[in-house]
């Protein structure tokens, strides 16, 4: 297994959250929920797990009329995601390379 492959991050629900957050800074909790098609409670559980691992941070808005929660990747989370995505790309790339003891390419 690639050393940069992150088992914790590869859980589909967590990887979805991190992928939604990656291109942006702060992202509204509701947008993340709708983008990955999950429930508030399920997303909250994944965000808590990611926050516990230091991969995301959470900010709750002060406006009481429309209290919004924002989530963003921490630098550690961003780095972990970049490494994990690179590991996935390497796994795919390696599978496309011809095996060293395989038949020679046709001339």
């Amino acid at each position: 297994m690639d050393p940069q492959f992150d088992e914790f991050l590869h859980v589909p629900a967590r990887l979805s959250v991190v992928a939604v957050l990656a291109p942006a800074d702060w992202v509204d909790f509701g947008f993340v929920r709708d983008a990955i098609g999950t429930s508030d409670s399920a997303l909250s559980k994944q965000v808590s797990a990611l926050a516990g691992a230091g991969y995301v941070e959470v900010h709750k808005g002060q406006d009481k009329r429309a209290r919004r929660t924002y989530v963003r990747l921490t630098p550690a989370g961003r780095l972990a995601f970049q490494r994990h995505a690179a590991a996935l790309e390497r796994i795919v790339a390696l599978s496309r390379m011809p095996a060293p003891d395989g038949p020679p390419p046709p001339e």
Binding site: A19, A24, E89, I91, V92
Partner: protein, 159 residues
């Protein structure tokens, strides 16, 4: 982890990243923000030729509306782009550009209409109107530049 699963994960990552990028681009400088901030700019520029206390009132009001609408816009979006130096550079770079058109407008106001350098119907009003129109006119270009910067800067691009 087999290559098929890895490819499926990469495809999923790309699809989710695209959703975020689309939302981010959709909300860059909406027209409501552009029109209100252009009016605020007009008030600030026009206030230069007003007498006190209207000068301070119009300037303060224009500045408050300009900052307020900017804050409301940035707090109201679901997806906030990561601010980068080129992005800030574009926003700051617009200011002297508008000021040049304000000066041109003043000259036009004096040369063509013989307007005075004081009062409401003055050179500053023509300059402010020209700067506000130019501000609205360059927004599609600014939006394209900011979109390009946001797409270049944000997140790893998964192939």
């Amino acid at each position: 982890m087999n290559p098929q699963d890895a490819q499926a994960s990469l495809n999923q990552i790309r699809a989710f990243q695209d959703k975020t990028r689309k939302e981010m681009i959709r909300k860059i400088f909406p027209w409501s923000f552009v029109i209100i901030s252009a009016l605020a700019l007009f008030a600030m520029f026009t206030s230069i030729d007003l007498d006190q206390p209207w000068k301070s009132i119009a300037n303060g009001l224009g500045l408050a509306v300009f900052i307020g609408v900017g804050l409301l816009y940035s707090l109201g979006v679901s997806v906030q782009p990561k601010p980068t130096l080129p992005m800030i550079g574009v926003m700051i770079g617009v200011t002297p550009f508008l000021f040049v058109f304000f000066i041109i407008g003043r000259i036009v106001g004096f040369a063509l209409f013989g307007l005075p350098a004081h009062g409401f119907l003055s050179q500053a009003m023509v300059g402010g109107a020209l700067a506000a129109v130019v501000y609205i006119a360059i927004m599609p270009v600014a939006r394209r530049i900011i979109t390009w910067i946001a797409l270049q800067a944000n997140g790893p691009t998964v192939r």
